[in-house]
């Protein structure tokens, strides 16, 4: 990886809508919402963006942070993220990339959204490999040849660019609202300054989402230990808005031979190894049923300007 003291400038490049990675053709459900009349002006749009950020945006941010963290770990240990090339298939970076990608699949019920996410992920990896050449991106492209989900690709690209997981999460959260916002400007002829004002109003929520996304990575390490000790469910979380991702029960680990995650395989790998893949099942999974319906409606409609 190139030597960069900080990823700040790289983050700007990565989050810029001019990054040539196909994002301009996706409206994130906004085109269908406009067609159905549920977005007609700035007020609707503001609520649409807020809801999108709190759901799909948070999930993307968490997946991107996880991917960035994992990418950085594989880059540090080319033999595999756990620094050894043992017989454990879970230590194979390609298998782990596929596992993280499967976590994105499981959080995306709508096939239209999965397709849009994979197309964008594939295009991003294509461009990022030329912009920030790195073994990690080559690895991801090989591991998921049909195209990794966009947040996964974004996280890996962020790592290749020199960003940290928080920056990856921030870029993902930002992307989750800027695409639909721009689409609405084009589709409804909204005043672009008004719409940028909406985005500015969302800035604190974007930060919160990125923090929550990163907390979900760290949190689980703590929970994982607690789980091993006490087992079972945590108490109810007192949640607020987008910080939900930080407080959550662990996902199912019904002991048993069925779970292939490092949670159950990592006893010899030490705490760092344990931390990596074990957080993934518990990452936020906030669903937006209306976005699902919008995505599927859009997919079925032949008259459209945007891919999704």
């Amino acid at each position: 990886m190139r030597d960069r003291p900080t990823g700040d400038a790289a983050l700007l490049l990565l989050a810029d809508s001019r990054l040539p990675a196909g994002g301009h053709a996706h409206s994130g459900g906004a085109e269908e919402a406009v067609r159905l009349g549920t977005i007609t002006g700035p007020e609707d749009l503001a609520r649409f963006l807020r809801g999108r950020l709190a759901t799909a945006g948070l999930v993307s941010a968490a997946l991107a942070a996880a991917a960035c963290e994992f990418a950085a770990a594989t880059a540090d240990h080319p033999a595999g993220p756990y620094g050894h090339a043992g017989p454990d298939p879970d230590a194979d970076p390609a298998a782990l990339w596929r596992r993280l990608d499967a976590e994105a699949d499981a959080r995306t019920a709508s096939p239209a959204q999965r397709e849009a996410s994979r197309v964008q992920g594939r295009l991003l990896v294509r461009s990022a490999r030329r912009i920030w050449p790195s073994a990690v991106l080559d690895e991801l492209a090989k591991a998921v040849p049909e195209g990794a989900h966009h947040p996964i690709a974004l996280g890996a690209a962020a790592a290749a660019a020199g960003c940290d997981p928080y920056q990856a999460a921030l870029a993902a959260a930002y992307n989750s609202v800027t695409g639909p916002a721009t689409a609405a400007v084009r589709l409804l002829g909204l005043d672009p300054v008004t719409v940028h004002r909406l985005l500015a109003d969302l800035a604190p929520a974007l930060n919160d989402a990125a923090h929550a996304a990163c907390a979900s990575l760290i949190d689980d390490v703590v929970h994982g230990v607690a789980q091993n000790g006490a087992g079972g469910h945590q108490g109810p979380a007192q949640n607020t808005a987008t910080q939900d991702g930080a407080k959550r029960d662990d996902p199912p680990h019904h002991g048993g031979a069925t779970n292939s995650g490092p949670t159950h395989t990592g006893s010899a790998d030490g705490p760092a190894a344990k931390a990596l893949g074990s957080a993934w099942p518990a990452l936020p999974g906030h669903a937006a049923p209306a976005l699902d319906l919008l995505a599927e409606g859009h997919r079925g409609n032949p008259m459209k300007l945007f891919v999704s």
Partner: protein, 234 residues
Amino acid sequence: MGAQHDDLHDAADPHGRALRLGIGGPVGSGKTALVAALCRSLGPSMRLGVVTNDIYTTEDAEFLRRAGVLDPERILAVQTGCCPHTAIRDDIAANLDAVETLEERFGPLDLVIVESGGDNLTATFSRGLADRQIFVLDVSGGDKVPRKGGPGVITADLLVINKTDLAPLVGADLTVMSRDAAAVRDGRPVLFTSIREDRSAHSVAEWVTSLVNTWKHSNDQAHDHTRTTPTTAA
């Protein structure tokens, strides 16, 4: 769709791949008609793929598929999110993906044609996407259009002025158009067509054929002398 880009093809590296020909021009000038004509005349002798960039529908792709000029599977449609010029110039990722998908599924190919969505006179193809480009005007916009210039008219490798059959009806003077185009194009070729009358667009097909041959030849040479990148005009 989806190309499995196992080895990283630098788009600028044309080594061993099909010539990518962009066809741009204003709305309704006859781009799709020209693509169909080229498929008709080149299809028998070349391995082809086509990518369309429709604005609001997949109408162009459907038209071409229905026209039966090419195996429908070899025609892919790309959506451009309100900005057809963005997809061929500023952010070409989706078009590149489509082109490479065709090459991967049906390759090796000789020629991949990318039709842009109808746009304005400033819309040209990125060199990262198209190796050569044709700009299609028609006479119905009046004979002043070549004089107005714009990157498409000025820099395209070939300027096609279509619908000459309509010239008398709209009062367009073809000699004026020819003279004005020559003035701004610095010797690059201009061809007049009426695809309505010549459904194979013979003159354009001939130009494309020689382009593809030159392309192959220079690629072979590049292959012989290690890997120099031929970026000079044909």
